[in-house]
């Protein structure tokens, strides 16, 4: 056997400080979430489409050179062309400008509606779960009653009582019962978190209840909350669309995607493009929000961390 000379051996010290050197760069929770979301192609594509739609609702109405309520009797029911990219409607208004103007209303309703129901729902659900017992029972029964009221009824009642069909009234009537689902979900999450051992440890340390809610409970509910917001937005957009479609929503001259589709369906057989563009926008927005919500749920779930 070949002998290996002693000089070839060298003593290598283990540096214990080196063992804790971090191999990969330190990343925070949200950076990690972004990293996982980025690897989900569908979610990212949805995000890009959404950004484009939102961007177009902001600048779109000014691009075609027509005002959304400018009536031109010489150009009624034109097909999409160089002058009118999406064509014109029965009053000769430019559909391109109208689609993006209508998008503003839909987006505003979707986003503010979801935010309001998230805030109200979190407060209500958090309160209910934290106090528990009888308070919880009563608060949850109230939610169940509210959920059982059909929202169409609420919308009609409110529009009669306030005698107005503005954006504000519609917001109120949609969010009046819309927060109930979020409240239930937050309550469920909080009940689960409340029994976690780290909450017990915080109590043992003497941390005050308000600080426990702010530092432990809310940050841990945040991920489900974000997902619920992203699923709520298309729900509100669709409700608005539906209400406008049946004539309870936005009134002319203002418009929304639902109102556009409603106006176009009368001439659908002769001028299908008038229905096509608003319908496409509704479908795209709902689809992309749902797909993005799906991606976010996966990205925010700490159990799916690699």
């Amino acid at each position: 056997m070949e002998t290996i000379s002693k000089e070839k051996f060298r003593r290598i010290q283990i540096d214990y400080k080196e063992s804790e050197k971090i191999a990969r760069p330190q990343i925070g929770y949200w950076q990690d979430v972004w990293r996982r979301l980025k690897s989900n192609k569908v979610a990212i594509l949805s995000l890009i489409i959404l950004v484009i739609i939102v961007f177009m609702t902001i600048i779109g109405p000014y691009l075609s050179g027509y005002d959304f309520k400018e009536i031109d009797s010489a150009k009624i029911n034109q097909r999409p062309s160089k002058e009118n990219w999406f064509g014109t409607d029965e009053l000769g208004r430019d559909i391109f400008a109208r689609v993006w103007k209508a998008g503003r209303v839909s987006m505003v309703i979707g986003i503010t509606g979801a935010l309001i129901s998230a805030v109200v729902g979190t407060m209500y659900g958090g309160f209910s779960a934290y106090f528990g017992g009888r308070v919880d029972t009563i608060m949850m029964r109230i939610v169940e009653i509210l959920i059982s009221v059909p929202y169409l009824l609420v919308v009609i009642l409110i529009s009669i009582i306030t005698d107005s069909r503005s954006l504000g009234t519609m917001m109120i009537s949609l969010t009046l019962t819309g927060w109930c689902g979020t409240a239930r979900m937050v309550r469920g999450q909080m009940l689960q978190l409340k029994s976690q051992e780290y909450i017990l440890a915080a109590e043992a340390l003497g941390v005050k209840p308000l600080k426990i809610i702010m530092k432990h409970l809310i940050p841990n509910v945040l991920n489900v909350l974000i997902v619920s917001i992203s699923f709520d937005i298309p729900g509100y957009i669709f409700s608005e669309t539906f209400l406008s479609y049946i004539g309870l929503g936005i009134q002319p001259p203002n418009t929304s995607w639902g109102a556009l589709a409603s106006a176009a369906q009368r001439n659908f057989i002769f001028y299908p493009y008038q229905l096509f563009f608003p319908a496409l926008m509704i479908a795209l927005t709902m689809l992309t929000f749902t797909l993005l919500g799906d991606g976010l749920r996966d990205a925010l779930d700490p159990r799916l961390r690699e």
Binding site: K17, E20, K21, I22, Q26, Y29, Q196, E197, Y198, L200, A201, A202, E203, A204, L205, G206, V207, K215, H216, P219, N220, P302, R305
Partner: protein, 318 residues
């Protein structure tokens, strides 16, 4: 003598309502005391009320009746300020190192939580204290900026210990701190706890179902069965000459790391199941499984009595 007692538990009861006319007696009339600087081991099978007992002592659960005295003061009758002060002195190390750390907080934030409640430190002092604590429990300063999921089970349990130590307590309830860890890590954690006791002079209530670990760490051992204390004696006595039939069975179940002795020894096998702690039987709770049971055991609940010096047993036959 009573001045030496850091913790005195007197007739402590903790019942839970679990539905109509159903009361779960998790801790049923338990009394003992813990001397300053001592480790009291608390053993018993799952569901016998060890954890509830530990948490009730710390005031995390309201006691149904009975008293817990810390340095002569009743824990359950303290006002807000006294309670905060008590929480600074008495801490808990929890069982599951995976569930006991908030996944959204860094290790530094977790350890700093208690410091913020009880001390007013500047940011630099606070950071120095956190580093000190990490060093004490054998972690590196680099760990402070990490999240719990980036650490191993043993490292997490060290964080749990550091969190408890952060408020400079005198008394720590160790609620099965090692049962979620594998054997090699268990030894490290137990040795760390023993070292800290020597250095800082801590007092422990060490809850576990691992008898050999309890033997290693405890000065005295209490054996619980279905919410009651059945035997309380110095560690040596419990292991060398257990008196209560339940303790005998428990001790006989400890494996001996010698195949010859292991083959020869006789295990006392208990018949039957543990009765439900919901509306438990009258008389001795161990009656149905006990080989020495008599009629007296069926009807009269035995009280803890001192059979030898410092050796208490709750059994009519001893």
């Amino acid at each position: 003598m009573s001045n030496e007692n850091l913790i005195e538990v007197v007739n402590l009861k903790k019942y839970f309502n679990v539905g109509k006319n159903k009361i779960l007696k998790a801790v049923d009339d338990v009394s003992f005391n813990i001397k300053k600087g001592e480790t009291l081991g608390l053993v018993g099978e799952s569901g016998c009320g060890k954890t509830t007992c530990g948490r009730t002592i710390l005031g995390l659960y309201a006691a149904t009746s009975g008293h817990v005295y810390y340095c002569g003061k009743d824990v359950h009758a303290m006002d807000f300020n006294e309670k905060i002060k008590f929480k600074k002195n008495a801490q808990i190390i929890l069982q599951d190192p995976y569930a006991s750390l908030d996944p959204r907080m860094t290790i530094g934030e977790i350890i700093g939580e208690g410091i913020d409640v009880h001390f007013k430190l500047t940011r630099i002092e606070r950071q120095r204290r956190i580093n000190e604590l990490l060093d004490t429990v054998g972690l590196n300063q680099e760990h402070a900026s990490r999240f719990p999921h980036e650490l191993s089970g043993g490292q997490r349990q060290r964080v749990g210990i550091a969190r408890a130590l952060a408020v400079e307590p005198q008394f720590i309830v160790c609620d099965e701190p090692i049962s979620a860890l594998d054997v090699s890590i268990q030894a490290q954690i137990v040795n760390l706890l023993v070292r800290l006791q020597k250095e800082i002079g801590l007092t422990y209530l060490f809850i576990s179902h691992d008898l050999s670990m309890v033997k290693h760490i405890s000065d005295r051992v209490g054996v619980m069965y279905l919410g009651s204390m059945v035997e309380l004696a110095p560690s040596f006595n419990i292991y060398q000459k257990p008196l209560h039939p339940y303790t005998k069975a428990l001790i006989s179940a400890i494996p001996i790391p010698d195949p010859k002795i292991e083959d020869e020894r006789k295990r006392i096998k208990l018949e039957g199941e543990v009765p439900s702690p919901i509306n438990p039987p009258e008389g001795c709770k161990f009656f149905k499984r006990c080989v020495q049971a008599t009629d007296k055991c069926k009807n009269v609940s035995p009280q803890l009595k001192e059979v030898e010096k410092n050796h208490f047993v709750a059994c009519h036959q001893c």
